[in-house]
Every structure is written in C-alpha cells, then in structure tokens.
C-alpha cells in the first residue's frame, strides 16, 4: 500500500472549480514536484491534503487511513507537515518558541503538569528544547534562537518555516514555493538542503515551485495542473518536452531564464 494515496480530489469555491479529479500516490522517500500556472489550484491541493479546506469530493489516504474530515492538527499529528506560500510564522514569538510549539502534538504531560511543573514536565520540556536547538543548529539558526521571528530576513524565515514543519516529525513534507524570494545563489543552497533533509529524516517531499531549476533538478516525478486538472505527470525529462506543459506553463524558451 502506498504511503499517500489521493483519489479523485475535487474542490469548488462557490462556483469556481479549483481542483478537479486529482490523483496521486507517493511512497516513503519520494520527491515529487507540483507545477502549473498561477491559480491552477496547487496551493488548494495542499490545503485539501492538510485539512485546511475540506474537499468537495475525493479521498486522501495516509497508510490507508482516510484523512478527509479530520481537523488539520490531527492530520499533522499523523505525519503530514507543510510550509506556506506566504510565510506564516508566529511573528512575535521567538524562533525557538516557533519550533517548540510545533511539537504540541508530541507532548505527553497534561494540563495539570503544565501548571504544576513537576519532574516529568521538566524532563520533557528539556527534551523539547534540546531537539529544537538541534534542529536550529542544522539550519544554522541557533544564534537567532531568541530573536523574534519577524526580525529575521526573508530567507531565514523560510528556513525557520521548514524547521518548524520538521519539528512536527512528519513523514511527508509539503513545501509551497520554498524558493520564492531567494536569489539564484541561495536557491542552489536550498536544493542541496532539501535533498539533505530527505536523506536525514527519511521523508517524502512534495514541492510546489515556479523555479524550474529546483523542480527539474531535484524532483523524481512532476505533476502538472492547469485549471485544477492534471495535464501531465512524468519525469522531469518528459515534462520538459510535453507540448501542453510548454504551452500552458513553461513557455517557449523555458530554461534560459532559470
């Protein structure tokens, strides 16, 4: 049984059909790309999978369990985490708190412990902090741990978002345009980084991106949507040469720009 199975996912906003009959299967360790013109419904698909929106129709199965109808935090607890197209950090909170809070669903102590601060509480809190610092160190952010998230430059905020998603201990990581607002040099670093976390955390990664360099270089398979419908699915090589994709999305001189 594939880890993630999406069947006939369909979503309407009022009369607007944003996603139609979307299907996908992913295994542990896969790295899949999702591209398509602006407004094609990519972010909406992420929103449906993570429970932010409830699909009009269709199923999302994680290890055979249907996620539709679950609240977002339940889905995240089951192992799907994401980043956002426009950064949504908890701005006033410190970077460290941003990471720690994302471990909410892994906390064992209860309400009473959280007020009385017994030994069990301290043991666990220490562990949460240690892990958070480890994660931050991996991203080279440990010096910024006590800085308010909003004071970080854009690129670093993106990294905090990814670190925060990893803190939930996902098996599937959804990245929505992680390279937006990065310059080509930083994008190269990002690509390396994505591959590294896939290895280190043994994750499946699903990524939306308009930077073809990222998509074509690191994804094993790419899904292309337009007006909510899948128009192509294949390896980077196949997608690059697909005339429909070129027409709708890539344009003629696809790669000189990237």
């Amino acid at each position: 049984m594939p880890m993630l199975q999406i069947k006939h996912l369909t979503h309407y906003f009022g009369g607007l059909r944003a996603v139609y009959d979307f299907n996908l299967e992913m295994e542990q360790g896969d790295l899949v790309g999702l591209i398509g013109p602006n407004g094609a419904g990519k972010t909406t698909i992420f929103n449906l999978v993570t429970g932010a929106y409830r699909p009009t129709e269709g199923e999302v199965l994680l290890d055979g369990e249907n996620l539709v109808g679950m609240r977002p935090h339940e889905i995240t607890t089951r192992g799907i985490a994401r980043t956002f197209q426009t950064i949504r950090l908890w701005n006033e909170l410190s970077v460290l708190d941003n990471i720690c809070i994302a471990r909410a669903s892994r906390i064992q102590y209860g309400l009473v412990d959280s007020i009385l601060h017994g030994k069990r509480y301290w043991d666990e809190e220490r562990q949460i902090k240690r892990r958070a610092f480890d994660l931050l160190a991996m991203f080279g952010l440990d010096k910024e741990a006590h800085e308010a998230a909003k004071n970080l430059p854009y690129g670093e905020q993106r990294k905090v978002e990814i670190a925060r998603a990893l803190a939930t201990e996902p098996r599937l990581l959804l990245l929505d345009e992680p390279a937006a607002g990065m310059n080509p040099g930083e994008i190269s670093d990002l690509m390396e980084f994505i591959q590294q976390i896939r290895r280190d955390f043994n994750l499946a990664i699903w990524i939306i991106e308009h930077q073809m360099r990222v998509i074509m270089n690191i994804c094993e398979r790419i899904k292309v949507v337009d007006f909510g419908e899948t128009i192509a699915y294949g390896t980077p090589e196949e997608i690059r040469n697909n005339p429909r994709v070129i027409e709708a999305y890539l344009g003629e001189e696809a790669f000189d720009a990237a």
């Binding site: 992420f46 932010a52 956002f84």
Partner: protein, 316 residues
C-alpha cells in the same frame, strides 16, 4: 394580539430600530476604515445632542426677543450647526488621541481602549460642567400624533425612519461608487499600500470621522426630538447596543449596520409584545434582555461574521 396592536408594535420597532441603525452606521463607518471600535461613538452621539440643544435654545432665545426665526430654519441651523461642531469634536479626538497612537504603530486594541477612555471623558466632562440634571430638548419639530385605525404614530417617528433609510442608501452609494469610498475601504485592508495609490490617508481618515460624527449629531438631534430628554449618560447603553447591532449585521458593512439595528429593535420590541399572545404569557418583559441577547448569541454562533459580514478570507 389584534392587527392594530401588531401594527403598532411594528411601527414602534421600526422607530426604535432606526435609532440603533443610525448610531450603528456611525460605528460601522469608522470601523470600516480603521478597524477601530470607536467606543466613544455613543458619547459623540450625546455630544451631538447637547450641541444641538444649545444651538436650538440659543436660536429660540433670539427668536423670542426680537425677530422670529421660522421654525424650519431653526431646525436646519440646529442640525447643520451640530453636525459641524460635532465633527470638530470627532476630528479633535482623532487628531489628539487616535492618530498619534496609529503613527506609533500601537496595537489596534490600544486605540480601542483609548476610545473607551475618551467616551468616559466626554461623559464626565459633561457631568462636571453642566451638572447632573437632565435637560429637556426643545420641540424643534412640532410633534403631531396621528391615529389611523387604532395605530398611533407621530410625524417625528416617520421622519426618523425615513432619515435612517436615506442615510444608509447615501452611505452605501458613497462607499461603493466614489474613489474616496474605495480608499476608505482600502485603508481597512492594508494601510501600507494605500499611500502608494496616491491617497492622502490622514485626510481620508479625517473625512471618515467627519461623516461618523455628523451621523452621530444627526442621530442625537433626532433622538432629542423623539424622546425629549437628554442626559450625560444617554449615549452609553444605546451606544453599546448599537455597536452590538453593527457587529451582528456584519461590522464594516453599511447594510449590516442597518439590518442589525432594525433586527435588534424588532427583537427588543417583540419579546415584550409576544407576552400578549396566548400561549406566551410566561414571556414576561423582564426576559427581554435575556432573550434578545440569546438570539444574538445564536445568530453569531451560526453565522460567525454576522449577517452581511464577509470573513476576511484567510487564504492559506
């Protein structure tokens, strides 16, 4: 309940609702632009009524002494004068209390608390300067009582109802059709981008306060004409309730304020009226607030952004 009594209640509800609506429109105006719950609005309504009172007594005073001023002229002058002066009060408050906070980037709730303080200040300044005794509002509009088939109503009631509808339509058109109206709505969404459109933000905000305060003044004078008694705390309860009405209708939405205002008026009147209907005798008028607010609670629970409010779309 006979038809005449029912119609009477209906008319009462329309009038009472139109006061809520008129005041709620002022709330919504300011809220629609600054996302500021201008808790001082109820008290600006009071200020408007008092300014109207002073202008009217002054004019009536001269009229009595030497040359008579026709009553329609007194009414017009009172309304205009009160609108202008009350706008001045509103503008001053905006200038000295709200704007500095905005410019310092304070959390909007601090502005809300400041508004509460300004409201208290206005009330107690009135109390301290003018004394605790209530004032009788002069009869600017000669109240005529008409009775048609057992239903009694006054000309003032009809004027108030008509006025609130006219004001609503005018505001709606203003906000939807003019560039100033668009700019006002834009400010509520994103203050950073507004100046990039060449919009003088502070001037637009000032205009908002002028409109809001003028509406309050108008409401104040109408209130004085309909209920005849002014007191320093007359704006508190009606202000809070009008605010509630504005939110239930969908705050920031002109139609919402209107519908919310009338809805609250109708609920309040008909909870009392229903006790007359066989089978509902247990519904004593002491339950009025209880029932009215429970109904509002339910409406907001079912429709979390009020009747006309559009949720600010949280695109994920």
């Amino acid at each position: 309940m006979g038809l005449d009594i029912f119609l009477q209640h209906f008319l009462n509800a329309l009038q009472w609702g139109s006061f809520y609506a008129l005041i709620a429109l002022g709330y919504t105006m300011v809220y629609g632009v600054l996302l500021l719950i201008n808790f001082a609005h109820g008290d600006i309504f009071m200020v408007g009524a008092y300014i109207g009172f002073f202008i009217a007594t002054f004019l009536l005073g001269i009229g009595g002494n030497s040359f008579a001023i026709p009553s329609w002229l007194i009414l017009t002058l009172t309304i205009l004068g009160s609108m202008v002066l009350t706008s001045g009060v509103g503008l001053t408050i905006e200038r000295v209390a709200y704007r500095p906070l905005r410019e310092r980037g304070a959390n909007r709730l601090y502005v809300v608390i400041t508004a509460l303080m300004i409201g208290l200040f206005l009330e107690y300044l009135n109390l301290s300067l003018l004394g605790a005794a209530d004032r009788g509002f002069p009869e600017l509009i000669q109240t005529d009582v008409y009775t048609v088939g057992g239903v009694s109503f006054t000309n003032v009631k009809l004027i108030v109802i008509g006025l609130s509808v006219i004001v609503m339509v005018a505001l709606e058109v203003f906000l939807r059709r003019t560039k100033i109206g668009m700019a006002m709505r834009a400010i509520s969404y994103d203050k950073v981008a507004v100046p990039l459109m060449g919009v003088p933000m502070n001037a637009i905000i000032a205009a908002t306060f002028v409109i809001g305060s003028s509406l309050a003044a108008l409401a104040g004078i109408m209130y004085g004409s309909a209920y005849h008694v002014l007191s320093f705390d007359m704006g508190i309860l009606i202000g809070w309730k009008a605010f509630i009405a504005a939110v239930v209708g969908g705050i920031g939405e002109v139609r919402g304020a209107m519908v919310g205002g009338f809805l609250l008026g109708f609920i309040e009147i008909f909870v009392v009226a229903l006790g007359q209907v066989p089978g509902f005798e247990w519904l004593s008028s002491t339950y009025r607030d209880l029932v009215a607010f429970t109904v509002l609670l339910v409406i907001l629970t079912v429709k979390p952004t009020g009747l006309f409010g559009v949720a600010r779309r949280q695109k994920v």
